[in-house]
Symmetry: C2
Subunit: 291 residues, 2 copies
Amino acid sequence: MTEFDMPGRDGATLETAPTRYVESRTIRFAYRRLGPQTGTPLVLLQHFSGNIDAWDPAVVNALAADRPVIAFDNAGVGRSSGQTPDNVAAMARDAVDFISSLGLAKVDLLGFSLGGCVAQQIAAEHEELVRKLILVGTAPKGGEEHLLEVLQQAFSQTDAPDPRLPLFFTNSSASRSSGLAFLKRTKVRKDDRDIDHGSAVTDPQAKALITWCATPDPGHAILRAIRQPTLVVSGSHDTMLPANNAYTMFKELRNAQLVLYPDSGHGALFQHHETFVGHVRTFLDAHRAAE
Amino acid sequence: MTEFDMPGRDGATLETAPTRYVESRTIRFAYRRLGPQTGTPLVLLQHFSGNIDAWDPAVVNALAADRPVIAFDNAGVGRSSGQTPDNVAAMARDAVDFISSLGLAKVDLLGFSLGGCVAQQIAAEHEELVRKLILVGTAPKGGEEHLLEVLQQAFSQTDAPDPRLPLFFTNSSASRSSGLAFLKRTKVRKDDRDIDHGSAVTDPQAKALITWCATPDPGHAILRAIRQPTLVVSGSHDTMLPANNAYTMFKELRNAQLVLYPDSGHGALFQHHETFVGHVRTFLDAHRAAE
């Protein structure tokens, strides 16, 4: 199956698109495909604990206005079969397995948080497969993370309507208000919602992310192996994976743009969704590598 | 005269627009006005040694596609009368004098290099006058500059077709090629070109920029006084005013976005002109302060 005969549905949204399945030799992957039939597909790599319905429809639908966008559950997550691995390298192999199963020979990748680690690993190892790379709220191998203490704080806020409010947004009224709007958007879909598996997914994912950051990468070998144009994005006050990671990635990558947003946390892409979509479009549509 | 009865010329470009004049009590200012009649005008504040024709038509004309854009010579520069002051505060007063002379009550400012210092001073002192602020290749008061040594190196490269090639671009072939294209674009206008005054302008301007960076600003008082949404932009390898300045401004400003471009020097906005224009549009068109 090529990208041209994939069952895309123009006009479908993240909230209305059917969840589809594709089988590799080992995994049955759940995914949704939005946007036009042609163009380089943008494949989304999700954050720690998130499934397809954890993406922000405001971001995904706007990006799908002018390019194919594919959200999926990696092995063991949501409605995909298999086990969630406990390391980024295996997650990258699974994601490549998914992309290959769709018959896609060239994609753009948008990796958020843990998904950004997976995206780095894929881009470094598969120069031919990845055209451009977008890394949001993530860290380089050997980078700085505060996952466990921030999660602990977030889950201790028993009055928060959702742990993503303190995890993804700052304490300012503007950011919290954006956070509540984000949560509302993620709950519009009622039928055929994706599912959660709790610690069967989050335990190995946490181990993968913490190990990724705890493992030194001398000379930033992975970043230096990435040759694709890269857009690096972070919130000013990301408590889990601080913005310093983004500045480091910008400086070590061969061809990176850096974008940092004000008064924002780990979920900066959801808070500043219009601006973020504008930046992604500008980046993906630039016709020269240097642009 | 209000912004609505200004003699704008739809379809005019930086290369074809007539140079116009407006008189304040003390200065006769030269300017060119492009773009539509309505909308918040974007006023451009030029770099050390530059006049109106030192702006990149690719940037200015693209920005003027959907907003009024005004390029002008500050006091003593180009075809404007008066003396070039030797300090940023006086340059800011002159620029406000120019804006007031046009009868404009609210503008956006784009300040490049020395013009970015002037823009910071204006925004900090005139909250009501400035809607949004764009700071490119510049430094905060007390920031880091390497003006004299870099100028010396640039002017010692006697084989360079223009000192702006080594000053504004990196040594990579992509950047140098962008630099040659930039120089070509700035030379398209033949008639009614702006004029240079040599050291009568550059001596006081150099003193102003060096003094700005040599003067500590405890607690970043100027940055903290700026309440407008701000877009901070820098090249990865700016040798005169390093990108660290941009990261500092982003962190100290109340509401700033940061954008850094790869493989680029002081002239990053000209090298990455399409992407830069995309970023400026996304920033100026965002309808909420938080966006």
